[in-house]
């Protein structure tokens, strides 16, 4: 551990050395060039005498300067990250982003001390073009689609309306503050305040997610915050550009505001369309990669980046484009490319986004050390307060509305997490640098940095303890008895079952329609012929058999060790039983995910879980287990492919998805091979012999599969 720290110190030292070698004004002075040329005027007299011998050892730093420095920065960032994870108890207390910023501050401070000028800052271009796309791409690729679309209404509600509320609120109140403090802040106009409000209201996905890693959040909360932070970027950037263009106009009329509103819509939907286009293109391309499998992952990255760049070029929302592109291409690409390519894609995505994020935080720290700070107590403190207040009120109000329409209400604890977890990050930082110069720009920069540091450090570090405090308090008020817990869970399962029986009117209607469209047209077009109807059931079954033979046993938590049956339980045992229950029984509805970590793939802790589905079926009676074994040939190939979200996951699930109806299996039997034979849509229509049966079976099975996926995505 200490070795790592010394190594990173050495690295920073070398970085400083490199920076010291290059002069502060950037242009390479002649005395830096290797003195091999011998034409240097300063010591020309000396060199003329020496023969032109071959240099055995020389250094030419400028030849490699740019890539060398970049690599050194990345190396520094990664070593800091490594050091963080090895440093004992620190990760429990301090989120990674904080440590990285501190390292950045340190390095920046040292550089400043050495060179007596500002260290290199994060240029907005570098940020938006190189550092942000990998993170957003990673987010989009691993977006849990079903959960996202189920909560899409709420997410949009928070993202669009919430951001608007925050922007307008903060902007207008800040203007009020500026009016009050006329003496020092008099020259900050309303538009400036609104501009500032728009960039400071942006909740940053990078910062938020890095804090959530250490916290236990359930899936629903995670997708709400995450989705909101993704989508609100679109709104923020649009508003920012809008206000900026308003600033450049001589006057702002009502028409301009209206046009601005239209602009928001165009930008959002435009980004979406660009993303869709490139996503489908990528899916189509991946169809043909069977003969050159090694470069298949490259297409994923190329097309996504292309979609980002294209939409940035057209002044549309690049973030929405890249997220849409990734989410669209995912299911088709995963079906088309080999397992290894899939793994490569996933690992590369994780790696790049991780590096990106680390670099961003380090640079945030480094860029804080500047000459250009301007401080103003009223402005800074009021900004901080207003950010907190407006976000809290916004979340409370919006949730009050949205809970009426939602099935799973957003609890108070969730609301607190959403409100308090609104961390600002690098996006605000870059946007503030992009403002056209005006007298108070430095004030804005300083304030932004303060807000970012405050939210990341103070809120980031305290959110976990506060949440636990809240949670514990709630539990202490009414400690449920064991009976209550058991019955309560039973009722949860019951209600979930009834909801399945009743069906969700409206909500799943469109989803089913889309699935039908997907199956009929998109998949046939975009997925390789031989992958469409192949039965992975046999593979799955064999895999499961193998695992059972290997005797993969899930170890029961060895906390409780009751000796006899009729003995009354001790309080500690009671507590541990309660813990087991609350941990285990919440599988169904609450779906707690332990530390969602963006930096590890969800390597299947699901090895043990693969047995569960079979077990559950046995509870329904003999029929199921029998059917899963004997009817594997009849499976409709389309089932496994779209749901192969994680490698290995689909295998367990295709087993369970077989419907025991023999009539359907017959029809699917005929439909299966028939599909491989003909790609003709007309023939396909004939092939879907009992279309209603087929579709509903698949619909049921797919719902089944995706349901199982959600269920299994936990520890």
């Amino acid at each position: 551990m200490t070795a790592l720290w010394t190594l990173s110190l050495l690295l920073s030292a070398s970085l400083l050395g490199c920076l010291a070698v290059t002069s502060p004004d950037g242009s390479p002075l002649p005395h830096n060039l290797p003195p091999s040329l011998g034409t240097n005027s300063s010591d020309g007299s000396l060199s003329v005498d020496l023969p032109m011998a071959l240099r055995v050892f020389s250094m030419d730093y400028h030849h490699v300067q740019a890539p060398f420095e970049i690599v050194l920065w990345i190396m520094l960032a990664s070593l800091a990250k490594l050091g963080f994870h090895w440093s004992g108890r620190v990760p429990a207390v301090v989120p990674e982003s904080c440590v990285l910023i501190m390292v950045g501050l340190l390095v920046g401070g040292v550089i400043y001390g050495v060179r007596h000028s500002a260290p290199p800052t994060l240029s907005a271009d570098a940020f938006f073009l190189f550092l942000l796309p990998p993170i957003v791409l990673d987010a989009g690729y691993f977006l849990p689609g079903r959960l996202f679309f189920e909560n899409l209404g709420t997410i949009l509600w928070y993202a669009v309306l919430g951001t608007l509320w925050n922007v307008l609120g903060i902007g207008l109140s800040l203007y009020g503050v500026c009016l009050l403090a006329q003496s020092s802040l008099g020259d900050v106009s309303l538009l400036h305040c609104l501009l500032f409000g728009s960039l400071i209201a942006a909740v940053d996905p990078v910062a938020v997610l890095s804090v959530f890693q250490e916290m236990q959040v359930n899936e629903q909360l995670h997708i709400l915050v995450f989705g909101e932070s993704l989508l609100n970027d679109a709104v923020t950037v649009v508003l920012y550009k809008l206000f900026e263009s308003f600033l450049r106009l001589p006057s702002v009329s009502g028409l301009d505001v209206l046009l601005g509103g239209c602009r928001v819509v165009v930008v959002g939907i435009g980004g979406l369309c660009v993303g869709l286009f490139f996503g489908l293109l990528a899916a189509l391309t991946s169809r043909f990669t069977s003969r050159a499998q090694v470069i298949a992952p490259l297409f994923v990255f190329l097309y996504s980046y292309l979609s980002y760049l294209t939409s940035e070029m057209l002044h549309l929302s690049g973030i929405m484009a890249i997220v849409t592109c990734a989410a669209t291409m995912k299911q088709y690409v995963e079906a088309n490319v080999s397992e290894r390519s899939n793994t490569s894609i996933q690992y590369f995505l994780k790696m790049w986004s991780s590096v990106s994020e680390t670099l961003i935080f380090i640079f945030l720290g480094v860029s804080t050390i500047q000459d250009i700070h301007m401080w103003s107590w009223p402005f800074v403190t009021s900004t901080l307060l207003l950010c907190l207040i407006w976000r809290a009120t916004g979340v409370l109000l919006l949730t009050a509305f949205v809970n009426k329409l939602r099935r799973n209400a957003v609890t108070f604890r969730d609301q607190f997490i959403i409100a308090y977890g609104g961390l600002r990050g690098a996006i605000c930082f870059s946007l503030v640098f992009l403002i056209d110069d005006f007298p108070k720009k430095r004030l804005f920069i300083t304030t932004t940095i303060v807000v970012i540091l405050f939210t990341v450090f103070v809120q980031g570090m305290t959110i976990k303890p506060l949440v636990e405090l809240l949670y514990v308090k709630r539990k202490k008020r009414a400690l449920p008895t064991l009976s209550e817990e058991i019955h309560s869970r039973l009722i949860d399962h019951l209600v979930a079952g009834i909801e399945d029986v009743v069906g969700y009117w409206g909500q799943h209607y469109w989803k089913d329609k889309f699935e039908q469209f997907n199956k009929k047209y998109l998949r046939r077009f975009l997925i390789r012929n031989d992958r469409q109807a192949s039965s992975s059931i046999l593979r799955v079954y064999q895999e499961l058999e193998r695992r059972e033979q290997r005797g993969v046993e899930e170890e029961a938590p060895p906390i409780v060790d009751p000796r006899s049956q009729g003995r009354p339980l001790l309080p500690e045992e009671m507590e541990s039983i309660r813990r087991i229950l609350s941990r285990n029984l919440q599988n169904f509805n609450n779906k707690q995910t332990p530390a969602y970590s963006r930096h590890t793939l969800h390597q299947d802790t699901l090895v043990d879980r693969t047995r569960k589905p079979l077990y559950r079926h046995q509870s329904l009676g003999e029929r199921y287990s029998y059917n899963t074994i004997t009817h594997f040939q009849g499976e409709d190939g389309g089932l496994s492919e779209p749901q192969r979200v994680r490698t290995g996951l689909s295998r367990s699930h295709t087993v369970c998805s077989i419907s025991p109806r023999s009539t359907l299996l017959d029809s699917s039997d005929s439909a299966g091979p028939a599909q491989t034979r003909s790609m003709d849509p007309k023939a396909a229509r004939e092939d879907l012999v009992s279309p209603k049966h087929q579709e509903t079976m698949e619909r049921a099975a797919r719902k089944h599969l995706s349901f199982v996926l959600e269920n299994e995505k936990q520890q």
Binding site: L482, I491, A701
Partner: protein, 194 residues
């Protein structure tokens, strides 16, 4: 959705159903559509395998019991009115109706809800949840995660807590009492069945 009179004609005893269950006619119609979509062969009644194709239900640990709850003793078909009556248990409770002094207790009342839940445990319909029945449910819900001894001790403790007359089984009244602090009305309702 067409004129209400003609569509209500599709549903036998619509008025009576509405009165007994408290559903509105729009809801009744939607439930009828759902019934028809579940009933693939258009037989006019549902059988257990119609339910089993529902993916979520199949994965539900107590899915089998829920399905069985629809089929009252012995029969293996459920027609629309029984379907609706069962689902009526899950309507959100209408608390303002107390002043009317309804002659008939609606299925969505708290007691009826609890009775429904009770019957999920009590498969042999003897009016009591025996230790074995409780164990079965626990086993289904907890699955592989807990050992058999732990299951036994959990069941033991649960019965100890609830069993007031010490007959080693939980009667319906004891069941009700153990859940008196729980907000069954909201917990056991499906909001869009209002």
């Amino acid at each position: 959705m067409g004129s209400s009179s003609s569509s209500r004609n599709k549903i036998p005893n619509a008025q009576e159903l509405m009165h007994q269950t408290g559903f509105s006619s729009a809801h009744l119609l939607r439930l009828h559509d759902r019934f028809e979509s579940l009933d693939r062969d258009n037989r006019g009644y549902l059988s257990p395998d119609d339910f089993e194709v529902l993916g979520g239900l199949a994965m539900n640990p107590i899915g089998g019991r829920i399905i069985e709850a629809f089929f009252s003793s012995g029969q293996d078909t459920v027609d629309f009115s029984s379907f609706v009556r069962i689902l009526a248990h899950f309507r959100p409770t209408d608390r303002n109706r107390n002043k009317e002094g309804t002659q008939q207790e609606l299925p969505s009342s708290r007691t009826r809800k609890l009775k429904f839940a009770f019957q999920l445990y009590d498969l042999d319909r003897d009016g009591k949840i025996s230790r074995e029945e409780l164990l079965q449910v626990l086993r289904a819900m907890l699955g592989l995660q807990v050992t058999e001894e732990q299951l036994q001790s959990i069941a033991e403790r649960a019965i100890q807590e609830a069993d007031l007359d010490k007959d080693d089984a939980i009667s319906f009244d004891e069941f009700k009492k153990s859940l008196e602090k729980m907000d069954i009305d909201t917990k056991m309702s499906v909001s869009f069945l209002k």
